[in-house]
């Protein structure tokens, strides 16, 4: 099947702006990605990717293996070099952006050898506060309370003094979510957060994130392999295959003939069925 889909096919937020105007119609985007291109050695990993995330949006990034999902996340966070294009967080270009406390990041299920790492859960979660600290970095009583709030928010307060290396995969992932949340970020970036969790753990995790999105208005950018489930929670979907195949609201995704032509309909059907199922229960 030829890859002929245009950029941001039916994109609601992928509007055609002039370089001076990064604002969408309704509100300033928290995140603007413009013509983002990333090379890895001689191959192009991402090509002219464009999309926005507005306040309160929950965007699910899906796509096949090797489609550049994680690279996109890392490019947004300034962890990989951009060959071309621009990423703006809260209206500021990445090179000048310093308010990383406004962004919470949960990396892919860590492969770090944590077994004998002597850090406690509280110590790990407090790392999420370092972005707002200036030299010399000190944690205050208020910071300790923020750590407690974050642990409570994800339901792992009882683990506060435990070693991070002695937790189960699911517990560890919740602790890392607490670390992402401890600075009360406006944008939460989650990279395949449920990969190592069992079905119950996944459901609980997604519900926690959904609660944050609905109750606190935290914007969410979530990369997922679990395409069927993401349809239940995300308000928008970004289908990535090195380029943006589709970016927009679920309704448009489900009704898009162009997406059907590109994906063959099976994926679309799976996602949309889950989404409708969820909507009818909501």
């Amino acid at each position: 099947m030829p890859v002929t889909a245009p950029q941001a096919t039916a994109g609601v937020s992928a509007k055609a702006e002039s370089p001076r105007d990064f604002r969408s119609d309704d509100s300033s985007p928290l995140l603007s990605v413009r013509d983002l291109t990333v090379f890895y050695q001689t191959s192009t990993v991402l090509e002219r990717v464009r999309f926005d995330v507005a306040p309160g949006e929950y965007v699910g990034i899906v796509g096949p293996n090797g489609s550049g999902k994680t690279t996109l996340i890392k490019a947004i966070l300034g962890l990989v070099e951009l060959a071309e294009g621009d990423v703006r967080l809260f209206g500021e270009s990445l090179s000048g952006f310093s308010r990383w406390d406004r962004v919470g990041y949960l990396p892919q299920m860590t492969t770090l050898p944590l077994q004998r790492f002597p850090a406690t859960v509280a110590e790990v979660v407090s790392m999420g506060l370092l972005a707002r600290k200036t030299f010399p970095k000190r944690l205050s009583k208020a910071d300790e309370e923020a750590v407690d709030r974050a642990l409570s928010l994800v339901g792992v307060s009882s683990l506060r003094s435990r070693f991070i290396g002695r937790l189960s995969g699911g517990q560890r992932q919740r602790v890392f979510l607490a670390r992402a949340l401890v600075s009360e970020p406006e944008l939460l970036v989650l990279d395949e957060p449920v990969t190592a969790l069992d079905p119950d753990g996944r459901e609980q995790f997604y519900q926690t994130v959904e609660r944050l999105n609905r109750q606190l208005g935290t914007s969410v950018l979530l990369v997922s392999h679990d395409s069927a489930t993401i349809g239940k929670y995300a308000s928008k979907i970004l289908y990535l295959d090195r380029k943006v195949v589709f970016f927009g609201a679920f309704g448009e995704f489900c009704g898009s003939e162009e997406v059907t032509r590109y994906l063959g309909g099976a994926f679309q059907h799976l996602v949309c069925r889950q989404h409708h199922h969820h909507e009818s229960h909501a």
């Binding site: 962890l79 990383w100 002597p118 790392m127 370092l130 010399p136």
Partner: protein, 275 residues
């Protein structure tokens, strides 16, 4: 008249060279043990070996040129530490980078030793350490270095912890892992150079590895790991020097043996009490 081991130790403490050995050994052990916690958790356990071997080459060079060894070994070891970091970052695995720098350093040292036959005996004192011959300048140098290590720890504790735990995440919270690691490795290089005088090139990595690994068996948090590691490191040097004095044994080897006993106790205790 000497009655028992305590009396012998009390008498030994009267000697200036023993006092210097204890002081220099303690401050070097403190720095090694403190930095060791970070290095081990960053999977750079053998960097002490690599740096010591590269320092060995530069000691050979200094002796060949008739220069004061520390004036050559300090910068060479610092460059070697940054080279290991660069190699492991871009070209090869971290342990392979350490191995490459280590083998090259040792080869150059042996090569230089074969060129200058007259200083072979001096070079061997660096291989096995000669803590009882520590000079006042070396005591001051080691003390100053320990002070720098303490200051770095106090002011950059959270950065060091974050980078050691997950360097990529540390970048997302605004920390520069490359800078933090470079500071850590250069401090390690200086510490290793001074450690060579205490236990020698062949054993200096034990001052980095043993106390930290011992502490990790029983620590209840990151801060407690740092405290326990430095306590174990300093205690091993003091007890090792006393043991060497009492049994007329080599000081470097005695220090390593004490470290092994500490580890065995911590390992057993950790298992018994499920720490």
């Amino acid at each position: 008249m000497l009655d028992g081991p305590f009396a012998q130790i009390a008498q030994a403490l009267q000697y200036t060279f023993v006092q210097r050995a204890l002081l220099a050994g303690s401050v070097v052990a403190f720095s090694c043990a403190f930095l060791g916690v970070f290095l081990i958790l960053r999977r750079f356990s053998m960097i002490g070996d690599g740096l010591a071997h590269s320092a060995f080459a530069s000691i050979g060079l200094a002796l060949l040129l008739g220069a004061y060894p520390l004036s050559v070994t300090m910068p060479v070891a610092a460059v070697a530490s940054l080279l290991i970091r660069k190699l492991s970052e871009r070209a090869v695995f971290g342990d392979a980078a350490v191995g490459m720098v280590s083998a090259t350093g040792m080869a150059v040292g042996v090569f230089l030793a074969s060129m200058g036959r007259g200083f072979n005996v001096d070079l061997f004192s660096y291989l096995f350490g000669d803590i009882l011959a520590v000079t006042s300048a070396e005591v001051w140098g080691a003390s100053l270095l320990s002070l720098v290590v303490v200051l770095v720890a106090v002011f950059f504790y959270h950065d060091l912890l974050a980078v050691t735990f997950d360097a990529e995440y540390a970048r997302v919270v605004g920390i520069r892992p490359d800078r933090v690691e470079s500071v850590l490795l250069v401090l390690t290089a200086f510490t290793v150079v001074l450690g060579i005088k205490v236990v020698g090139t062949l054993l200096v990595s034990s001052l980095i590895i043993f106390p930290a690994v011992t502490a990790l068996q029983v620590a209840r948090g990151f801060r407690s790991a740092l405290v326990l590691s430095t306590v174990a490191g300093v205690a091993s040097v003091i007890l090792g020097i006393f043991a060497a004095y009492l049994f007329d044994a080599p000081a470097g080897a005695s220090i390593v043996m004490v470290n092994f006993v500490f580890f065995a106790l911590a390992y057993t205790g950790g298992r018994l009490f499920r720490l």
